[in-house]
């Protein structure tokens, strides 16, 4: 997965547990990872230590393609203090082809991504951490 360098600091730096740090390590290596339940097959995002469907702790890390469609979007003009330097910025709900739904930022300037349009996830490497975003496929 493409890693794009962003020459600034994150508005909020995500935190990881000992368990979910595998996700961060994946991003650093250019992979978008999540967990699948070995017991019932449920694949979820964010990655989980226990399956929320069957409560099994037998979870396997899986790499996702990063391909999907945009389900819904908004552009935020009134933001919390931490994001004042970013407004306006766009976020959306994305459905990946593996059947996983997630929320992410949108890189859609100058080309606006419309609902049901194909997207591709990219990894954003900030000065102080990693994040991901969707851009037109």
């Amino acid at each position: 997965m493409e890693i794009i360098k962003v020459p600034k600091r994150l508005s909020i730096v995500p935190e990881y547990s000992a368990f979910s740090d595998t996700f961060r390590q994946g991003l650093a290596a250019g992979k978008f990872m999540t967990t699948t339940c070995s017991s019932c097959g449920n694949m979820t995002f964010p990655p989980k230590q226990h399956c929320s469907d069957c409560w099994s702790a037998e979870m396997e890390w899986t790499e996702l393609s990063g391909n999907g469609i945009l389900y819904a979007r908004t552009t935020i003009h009134a933001a919390a203090t931490q994001f004042h330097g970013e407004v306006p910025f766009s976020v959306g709900i994305v459905d990946l082809e593996e059947g996983v739904r997630l929320v992410t930022g949108l890189l859609d300037d100058p080309v606006r991504i419309n609902n049901d349009a194909a997207i591709r996830l990219v990894i954003l490497s900030y000065e102080d951490g990693l994040l991901f975003a969707a851009r037109p496929a």
């Binding site: 819904a72 979007r73 935020i76 933001a79 931490q82 004042h84 739904r101």
Partner: protein
């Protein structure tokens, strides 16, 4: 339940929603409201066995507010003193906990009350906390979604799928303003047109300033007692006929695709409450909803069956959900115009049903209102709490 202990609302008192007097402390304002409410009921402070407070906002300087307030009011309680909280259903939970103490015989009289006094804190600062509630703090919050941004996502998908327009949504704001203009407790009472709504700056696309709630302070106290005590006092009362709660196991978005415009928790909680009350939705005369945004009212009226799918906003434009219409919704003016102190909104909503069902709502009275539905819910944050109510005397 012991029939002698069926809980009812015997009275309430509330401040006008808006900006509270900044020269007074929170506990001073709330004390006035409590003394007014208890006095109106014809009760005395020694009757009070429980006081269930909505948890104060982070803007409140005085922490441990409930027990502090009990000392200010000199309450000696054997039921409980507590602060309860869960976003939009906070007021509903305070109400239920007060009812449960009366029903369980732990209190002869129980108060459901609270104050929100946060207008002195700016919106961006409030949202520093809000973004941590509105989604997974590690996997969603870093993208900067504000609480209202989640409703904007609902709106975006809804407009896309149904062909509803921003203009159609604006009709909800206009309808609720017309209601608020008749409500002495309402924050916003100047006339509002669809054009006014549409020309506001965008807050979170596609929602503009009048599609989303303003900042509001409020203070309210509901007095709950048993039907037997109420009859002894010789005053009419508001009765709970049915109750329903639902959470469908998601917080904002699930792990796999689902329809974010569907609000299944709201639908289930309402169905459960109607079944509990042994009535049908068609028998409901007035519905007071927790609907912070125009889009929320559209989605909730569809979810619970007051409008067909895709007609939630159009129903407001056609006057169906206005006072005098097929099923009046948010006769108080709702979150957008009555005002929205979030933790208290459900208590103000129940107070509105008190006025409507006891036929003391003045110019905004729904003619012949006999059965009311109150629903507080969290949209896709999830959790919904419904009450079906009527009046007794």
């Amino acid at each position: 339940m012991n029939n002698d202990r069926k809980p009812v609302v015997i009275s309430y008192a509330a401040s006008k929603v808006g900006k509270l007097d900044q020269t007074r402390f929170e506990h001073e304002i709330l004390a006035d409201v409590v003394i007014d409410a208890v006095g109106t009921a014809g009760l005395d402070k020694t009757d009070i066995g429980s006081a269930v407070f909505t948890a104060p906002t982070p803007a409140t300087r005085q922490r441990a507010f409930a027990t502090f307030m009990a000392s200010r009011l000199g309450l000696h309680c054997q039921g409980q003193i507590a602060e309860v909280s869960n976003l939009g259903i906070t007021g509903g939970l305070a109400f239920e906990q007060a009812c449960a103490d009366v029903a369980g015989g732990r209190a002869r009289v129980a108060l459901a009350l609270g104050i929100e006094y946060s207008s002195a804190v700016d919106a961006a600062t409030m949202m520093e906390q809000g973004i941590r509630a509105a989604g997974d703090v590690n996997f969603q919050t870093p993208f900067g979604l504000t609480p209202i941004a989640w409703y904007a996502l609902d709106a975006d998908r809804y407009l896309y799928e149904t062909g509803t327009t921003r203009r159609d949504l604006a009709a909800i704001a206009v309808k609720n303003r017309q209601h608020a203009m008749l409500n002495p407790l309402a924050q916003f009472q100047t006339p509002l047109t669809v054009a006014d709504v549409l020309e506001q700056p965008t807050i979170v696309e596609p929602l503009g300033r009048y599609d989303v709630p303003a900042r509001s302070d409020g203070a309210i106290c509901l007095v709950v007692t048993s039907e037997v005590v109420a009859r002894g006092l010789g005053k009419p009362f508001l009765r709970v006929l049915g109750r329903g709660f639902s959470h469908d196991g998601r917080h904002q978005v699930g792990s796999s695709p689902h329809d974010i415009t569907d609000f299944p928790a709201a639908r289930q909680a309402t169905a459960t409450a109607l079944e509990d009350a042994a009535v049908s939705l068609e028998q409901v005369d007035v519905a007071e909803l927790y609907a912070p945004c125009t889009i929320t009212e559209a989605l909730v009226v569809e979810a619970i069956g007051l409008a067909e799918k895709g007609r939630g906003a159009l129903a407001a434009g056609a006057g169906e959900t206005a006072i005098g219409g097929r099923i009046p919704v948010c006769t108080s003016g709702g979150c957008l115009s009555r005002g929205h102190p979030p933790g208290l909104t459900a208590l103000y909503g129940i107070a509105e049903l008190f006025d409507q069902l006891l036929h003391r709502a003045g110019k905004r009275q729904v003619a012949g209102a006999g059965l009311g539905l109150h629903l507080c819910e969290l949209g896709n944050y999830n959790a919904a709490l419904a009450h079906v109510m009527d009046a007794g005397n």
